[in-house]
Amino acid sequence: MEPNDQPEKPLISSKVDAFFLSIYDIFRFISRFFREVLRPPLEVQEFIRQCFMVGYKSLALISLTGFITGLVFTKQSRPSLAEFGATSWLPSLISIAVIRALAPLVTALICAGKVGSSIGAELASMKVTEQIDAMEVSAINPFKYLVVTRILACTVCLPLLMSYTAVVGMMGSYLDIHLNEQTSFIAFMNKAFANISFLDLASSFFKSVCFGFTIGVVSCYQGFNATQGTTGVGKAANVSVVISMFLIFIEEVVIVQIVNSIR
């Protein structure tokens, strides 16, 4: 019997098999990342270029959304607090909301949309036009050059962008409070940070690292394993965003539960 003619029997059913195989494949992808990230040579130039693409190129969008988030959240919260004569609590309410939840989540969602889709589409188009194969046959490790640098850049840049979003969000909030209550900047900051603990800052930072890693892994995996020509490019970009956002919300719930149990 020829090797080709051996019948292929699914273990459970072809769809269930495919699901578990893809899970196995993702874990192999992640373990390869950790193996390659520690192995020299480090692709420093490409890593810096990716940090520029992920971090610097997202600043304008992050500034706008962060500022508006802080401003609008303050505007929406004021009437409820005003009913109890508690508008003086606005700075601490906003700072808790922004630092604990809004800044990490807004940054991650914006980056999942902007960075995730661009990485997914870029790698997928390189895959379908055989540019990744061309690297492979030129004795270049495409995983290290393309995937490791992008995942690292997302993981490093997301916490920095989150910190920036938090600052810009607080500025939006201060603008609204200053215009309505004539609160000084120092008084605003004193009130805002009175209820913020180290755990709040650390958990937000940790969340952003997880979100960045997730966006990097999901978008690189989708792009690197794209098929079906140009249709595959669109699909990789789309699936990168959808799965990244889905996982970000799941991680948010899990990390909040863990942090609340520590608090």
């Binding site: 090797p3 046959v137 270049i140």
Partner: protein
């Protein structure tokens, strides 16, 4: 018709493929392929689209794993090589993709410098520039060094693709459809370039095509593939003198009568 190539060393096999099988799901692409490539020789693999020609050279380059069979390249069994050994072997194999597979985000010069920087980090920028000039001159496109791939024509992209593989001085060249989608004049230029590369860089080549003009101009030997296996091998005249097979007859009629 390609003239006789005296440089071929019939005692030195650079590629030896035996009993190669490859399937993708229920699609059996290769069914027991045997092939020998001698030093300095150009073999043309002819066949209809989807008969497994590209899969064959991707297995030879280690991009795909075979289901069964042996693939010996320059004395090494490709499917058994680890990643480091495979990377070292690949430095001796040049692979020219159908559409050039140039890196879109880099200029032509950067495309050529990229494999050099990665594989010879100690090479100076001057040495790199000299090598780039040599290979660009070899493919006749010195003026494109600062252009982006998107600004090049299909034929130019293919020639730059060939230049990018030549820059690492490979011993073996694998061409995937080098003349597909090109006008007859550009096809002739590419065919001439393939022969020049064989002579000037002393390479052995496997050329995948379904273009008989390309096969006749570049092949020292022709191997016709049908349904995942070779049905005939030999020089051009020997293969096409007996057109008893329907595929060979149709190929010949389409290319030279239509």
């Amino acid at each position: 018709m390609k003239p006789f190539t005296p440089e071929i060393d019939w005692n030195d096999k650079v590629i030896s493929v035996r009993g190669l099988y490859k399937s993708f799901g229920s699609n059996h692409v290769l069914r027991g392929v045997d092939l020998d490539l001698f030093k300095g020789e150009n073999i043309v693999v002819l066949g209809r689209s989807g008969t497994g020609k590209s899969v064959l050279i991707k297995i030879i380059a280690g991009l795909l794993k075979p289901d069964a069979g042996t693939v010996n390249v320059l004395g090494q069994e490709v499917p058994e090589l680890g990643s480091t050994a495979l990377r070292e072997l690949r430095l001796k194999i040049g692979f020219c993709f159908q559409n050039g597979a140039l890196y879109d985000s880099m200029t032509v010069g950067e495309n050529l410098a990229f494999p050099l920087k990665r594989n010879n980090p100690k090479m100076s920028a001057d040495q790199r520039r000299r090598l780039i000039d040599i290979v660009l001159d070899a493919v006749g496109l010195s003026q494109t060094v600062n252009q982006m791939p998107a600004e090049l024509s299909g034929g130019q992209r293919k020639r730059i693709g060939i230049a990018r593989t030549l820059i690492l001085r490979p011993e073996i060249m694998l061409y995937d459809e080098p003349t597909a989608g090109l006008d007859p004049i550009t096809c002739t230029e590419i065919n001439t370039l393939i022969n020049e590369v064989q002579k000037r860089f002393k390479t052995s080549s496997i050329i995948i095509t379904h273009d008989l003009t390309c096969a006749r101009a570049t092949g020292d030997k022709i191997a016709v593939m049908k349904e995942g296996a070779f049905i005939r091998k030999g020089d051009f005249d020997a293969v096409f003198s007996e057109n008893d097979d329907e595929l060979i007859r149709e190929f010949y009629d389409y290319n030279f009568i239509q």
